[in-house]
Symmetry: none
Subunit: 185 residues, 4 copies
DNA sequence: CATGAATGAGCATTCATTCAT
DNA sequence: GATGAATGAATGCTCATTCAT
């Protein structure tokens, strides 16, 4: 593993454990087994490191979320695919999920990253508008549906992550039914 | 307003604007119009101040949420009351809502406060178990329903806070329908 | 002596001995007998400290240089007064003289300070122009005379500072004669 | 141009623009188009590089200053030659002039270089003593004359460098007259 | 109680220098 | 010789906290 990857891995672990503010760059370097200065050869600032982690997370997440997606899917199938893939990705990369939660509520998130995050949101938005057009949604407020869905998704994911002993497939299925029963028809 | 209240008010404002880490105690004191040392006469540490703010927020929130609640309400009525009151409270105290979001994702939250937060959760938990007992829920995983509901509630609230020009009553009604359509019957 | 003065005194001494770059703020604080943080209570940055020292120097210098000056003096008398006072001041405050030499050749000198320094220069400039108008100067290039005079003054001062055992009054007199013999008539 | 020369050229440029402290060796290497490590193949330390630049400057300067000098010249002619050649050299190599100003006021100047610089000073000293012996100087303090002259020379040069649009020959002539009018007879 | 000057541990970042390739 | 990644000591500055008045 390259030094850069070792630094990012160490940072991810420590940020999740102690928070951004509670993790000095010196500790990250030590955990990664490199010198303090080396960290700054790869990331110009601590903020740069944090944002790089986020971008890495985002690209991995997107790749996973759109897996198996096709224009041929019905809206319901597409939403279910989105819901399922998102949860599966978080189970695969729980550290990244936790990291993102911290990142999203930190001052480090900047406009560039907000914009990149919006892309995912816009995708969901488009799906729902399509569904509304087809008359398969009970409600018409696209944005409200999006936010409702996002919240439900994140907290459902948290629950599943904390209860991995339960049958994950069932939980995903069950939670999607809760969603669809409320918004779809 | 007492000095203590002035400090808490200033802290709430600044924490929401600049974050916990971005707000030195010196700035809080200045904003509150008291000396640097005075802050520490009322709060032993910065962490103590943050936790005190949270406890204040929690008690106000609980008071609001349980308003009009009675054992005589049906489960559906009780859940709707919970949902509606929670959103109404956030609209009344948006600073507190924002503060709690930051707090919940920070390292400041400690076990004592987690426990106190759980009380609210346990109340919802009890309600849902009662509903499951009555057979009015489609699903049986109480905790999953709780988490799903919590996420949906928080993000719905965020949406409403950012779109106050829309009809709040309608949004609350609509979002509750989404919830109930998915979980209830 | 106030803490602020103690810091400035220590800084002056160390800057002269080790240079700006060779003098960490921590050493200044230690030499002044205060904590590292205290230095930054009085000076927002190291640069601020350096500039404050310069401004202090400048005001002391000006006060000294204009002592005994009057509009009634002839140009020759005025220039001699300037020359003599400037050297006398440097003898009284040799640390400040040395400090200014370093400061003037450092990147710390900024436009504000350059402007303030110019005031002295403008005064000399005005004197010389007056003299040229009276026809008592051999040469007519005011600015050239100013620069020539400034250089001669500074280096003469350096020599006198390094040879305090010689008769200072004589050296001042002699050097002024060199100047006047060359430029005046 | 050899790598060593490229490094020295880059260093000269950057030192003049950003100062010694404001110019990391990495930037010098980049500007010179060589790798970071290569710089240290030619100069053991940054200080070594700075001193090497100075020595190069000094040898070029000396060569220029003694051009046309002969034992047959009268003292006045010799001093004028010195004065004129020194200014002409600075006009030809303004970067070197600027560099030397910074160098002379920095902690990098060491005893070896001070000694080498003294050679020039001793030459002037000898000339003036000869003149005093011949009775052609108004004053007898050789060292005072030397310092006075040095300061006048440097600052006159600065003026000329900043005002190249004026007639350089005239400025040199005029400034020498100021000098000689004051010290000679 | 109120003050605010003083403290000093702590941290992000820089940069001259080394050395394995 | 040339390279440039790696090093880690060094430093300016911050800020929660203390305490004498």
């Amino acid at each position: 593993m390259s030094k850069k990857e070792m630094i990012m891995e160490a940072a991810l672990k420590l940020f999740n454990e102690f928070g951004f503010h509670g993790t000095p760059t010196s500790k990250i370097a030590k955990e990664a087994g490199v010198s303090n200065g080396t960290l700054f050869n790869y990331f110009s600032t601590k903020e740069d490191l944090i944002n790089s982690l986020y971008l890495k997370e985002l690209s991995g997440c997107k790749e996973c979320i759109f897996k198996g997606f096709s224009e041929d899917l019905s809206v319901k199938e597409a939403v279910e695919s989105l819901w399922t893939n998102a949860i599966r990705w978080s189970i695969k990369c729980p550290d990244m999920f936790k990291f993102r939660e911290q990142f999203a509520h930190s001052p480090y998130i900047n406009n560039i990253n907000k914009e990149k995050t919006e892309e995912l949101f816009r995708f969901a938005h488009g799906l729902i508008e399509k569904g509304i057009g087809e008359g398969i949604f009970k409600h018409k407020n696209t944005k409200l549906i999006c936010h409702y869905m996002e919240g439900a998704l994140i907290h459902t994911t948290k629950y599943i992550l904390e209860n991995k002993d339960e049958n994950v497939d069932d939980l995903i299925k069950e939670s999607f039914n809760m969603l669809w029963g409320g918004v779809g028809s």
